[in-house]
């Protein structure tokens, strides 16, 4: 996913550079009598229209894929409670008591089944980001104190998954992590 995004960006950026360079060179070569662009208003109109249509298509394709609608009409097979705190994640099969937060280690989650992560924070804002075995970010939500965010996901390949914090939360933000296995 991310790599196709990068390619898309590089192609668009490259195209922009070519356009700007071309326009610049056309000015360098121009002489006093050159008239500039023919019918700029008409071209402007077409340019805007095309841009509008492209963005419209983009929006209508991508919005339904937003995480808020992921697996919305299925019932989770498994619930994992997550409490983020400076500077650790607590993962547990049972609800987590903030007075004495206790989690489980060596968690194993089932393959191809719907998991619901119920994510909250016990102190400041944190991020809850799931990285696959190739260290690609595959899903995330924020952990906000006082709220429970429900992230639903189906793991389609087995392996070790890491969890990192993706919202700056203080001096050991970079060290805040956890993991689980999918089998």
């Amino acid at each position: 996913m991310q790599h196709s995004i990068l390619w898309l960006f590089l192609i668009l950026a490259g195209a922009s550079i070519i356009v700007f360079t071309y326009v610049y060179l056309s000015s360098k070569k121009a002489n006093q009598s050159d008239q500039g662009m023919n019918q700029p208003l008409k071209k402007r109109f077409w340019f805007l229209l095309i841009l509008f249509v492209i963005l419209g298509i983009f929006a209508s394709v991508t919005i339904p894929k937003s995480p808020y609608y992921l697996f919305a009409d299925e019932t989770p097979a498994r619930v994992l409670h997550v409490a983020a705190m400076q500077y650790a994640f607590i993962l547990s099969n049972d609800a987590i008591n903030p007075e004495s937060p206790q989690g489980e280690t060596d968690l194993v989650l089932p393959l191809n089944e719907l998991i619901e992560f119920r994510v909250t924070s016990l102190d400041v804002n944190h991020g809850f980001a799931i990285y696959d075995a190739n260290n690609q970010l595959i899903a995330q939500t924020q952990a906000m104190p006082g709220y429970v965010n429900r992230l639903r996901w189906k793991f389609t390949s087995p392996g070790k998954y890491n969890i990192l914090c993706l919202e700056f939360c203080g001096m050991d933000h970079q060290g805040m992590r956890s993991s689980f296995t999918v089998k």
């Binding site: 121009a30 008239q35 402007r44 919005i63 894929k65 400041v124 995330q140 993706l166 700056f168 203080g170």
Partner: protein, 470 residues
């Protein structure tokens, strides 16, 4: 025309901005070096530098735009020298307070100081109130400045003229210069986001002094990004106002006029800019879905007037047209290209389903550094250069213009590519040290630091050249 006093104070602004820019870039390079494990800083130092770098950069490029707009506005209306000076003093005091809270007090909650992090004190006790007060000082100074400029415009133009509404119809009786229109639209946005900051600070101070906890996290986050996103965007628009005013002039071309589509575009962009900030909260499922979609649509729509009117106008102005190219309009032209490319990265990230895997990775600093370091900074440098040399007698040739441009482009592009590649590799942003599984992260950071040094060299040359002349 502008008085000698305005000229002087503008020179002071320019020197301060460039000096602070150099310091802030050095902090940026130090951050990249630390991430590249070339140097070893404690996380506290790193995050302190990150906070200083972020807020200093936002601050200086905002005031750079404001100072330029203030200077050029003298062509149309009188501006208040006293207020300009007041803003300058507030900025200096504010920056000194900010730096003491981060460098001495080790405050390091990030430039967005997201509630409730500033209250989880992991630094000197006094640093939180000093940091928040520094924002109050900056905010008040800038608010007064913006309101003053706006009210000066309204002393000459009516409200509808200032927004160029009469241009919606054919053959308007009164013409609104594009510079006035854009400045007006931008100032409204600036005032709104500064008020958001003030409101947020009031809430934070109330909580700080009452030792309570009544601020709702979701409301605070909305206000934070309303302020942070909007100011970062509006300062770019200040730069665009300068381009609308100066590009034709330095190119030896007839001055740009407000047309109906320019008027419509800028009025529309005000609405989009004020609602686009919702895209910072996509991963906060707390936010109602309706607002998330508004965020995506507003972010998309904001690009239409920008691309269809401003960018297209620049291209039309240059295409097959003989122009007196100088460092000033070259910087403007390249800056617009940088702005477009950063905008592409932004639109990609403002797509909710992409944001799901890009949010708070290095993709974020990648795109905003593109339209800042390669966009807005070049707009302002273009203005600085023009300002420094417009009083030169005789024909002026900038000997190392090409050298400076090459350094900026070479250094900038390399520095930015490292961010983009890092983002596509899912490397998190705001990490003082990278977890070992990201094998590319440290090498990329080191390479970025090297490239950024070239960029720094260009800025040093600008500094020497411009300060000699102002």
């Amino acid at each position: 025309m502008e008085s000698l006093k305005t000229r002087k104070i503008t020179s002071v602004w320019i020197v301060i901005v460039l000096a602070l820019f150099i310091v802030a870039i050095i902090l940026g390079i130090l951050m990249r070096l630390n991430q590249g494990t070339i140097i070893q800083q404690s996380p506290v130092t790193f995050y302190g530098n990150m906070t200083t770098h972020g807020l200093t950069m936002i601050g200086i490029w905002f005031v750079a735009g404001m100072a330029a707009v203030n200077y050029l506005m003298e062509r149309y209306v009188k501006t208040s020298y006293g207020v300009n000076l007041f803003a300058l003093i507030c900025t200096i005091i504010g920056v000194l307070m900010l730096w003491s809270s981060t460098f001495i007090g080790h405050f390091h909650a990030g430039w967005t100081f997201l509630y409730p992090l500033p209250f989880k004190v992991a630094w000197a006790q006094w640093a939180t109130p000093v940091f928040l007060s520094s924002l109050v000082v900056l905010g008040v100074g800038w608010l007064v400045w913006s309101v003053s400029l706006m009210s000066q415009i309204l002393k000459k133009y009516t409200l509808s003229q200032a927004f160029a509404w009469q241009h919606f119809k054919k053959n308007p009786a009164v013409e609104t210069p594009p510079f006035i229109l854009i400045t007006m639209v931008t100032l409204v946005g600036v005032i709104a986001c500064l008020l958001a900051a003030v409101l947020l600070l009031v809430l934070l101070f109330a909580e700080y002094f009452s030792n309570g906890s009544f601020v709702n996290d979701a409301a605070a986050k909305n206000l934070t990004y309303f302020f942070g996103h909007t100011i970062a965007n509006e300062m770019l628009y200040l730069g665009l106002a300068v381009i609308y005013e100066l590009f034709a002039e330095v190119s030896g071309r007839p001055k740009w006029k407000t047309t109906w589509y320019v008027a419509v575009a800028w009025n529309l962009s005000l609405a989009f800019i004020l609602t686009a900030f919702f895209h910072h909260l996509y991963m906060d499922f707390v936010q109602p879905e309706g607002l998330q979609i508004v965020g995506q649509l507003a972010s998309y729509l904001a690009s239409l007037p920008a691309a269809g009117v401003t960018v297209f106008s620049i291209l039309v102005a240059v295409y097959r047209t003989k122009i007196n190219w100088s460092l000033t309009n070259l910087l403007f032209f390249i800056g617009v290209a940088g702005w477009v490319i950063g905008g592409l990265g932004a639109v990609i990230d403002a797509t909710i389903s992409n944001n799901f895997v890009l949010h708070n990775t290095l993709w974020v600093p990648a795109h905003f550094h593109t339209y800042n370091a390669m966009g807005n900074v070049l707009f302002s440098l273009g203005f600085f250069h023009w300002f420094a040399h417009k009083f030169d007698v005789g024909f002026y040739i900038d000997k190392n213009a090409m050298l400076k441009l090459t350094l900026i482009l070479f250094g900038g592009i390399g520095f930015l590519l490292a961010f983009y590649i890092g983002g596509a590799d899912s490397i998190p942003r705001r990490y003082s040290n990278y977890p070992p599984e990201f094998t590319m992260a440290a090498p990329l950071a080191t390479v970025a630091a090297v490239f950024a040094t070239f960029y720094l060299l260009a800025i040093l040359l600008f500094f020497l050249n411009i300060t000699k002349n102002v």
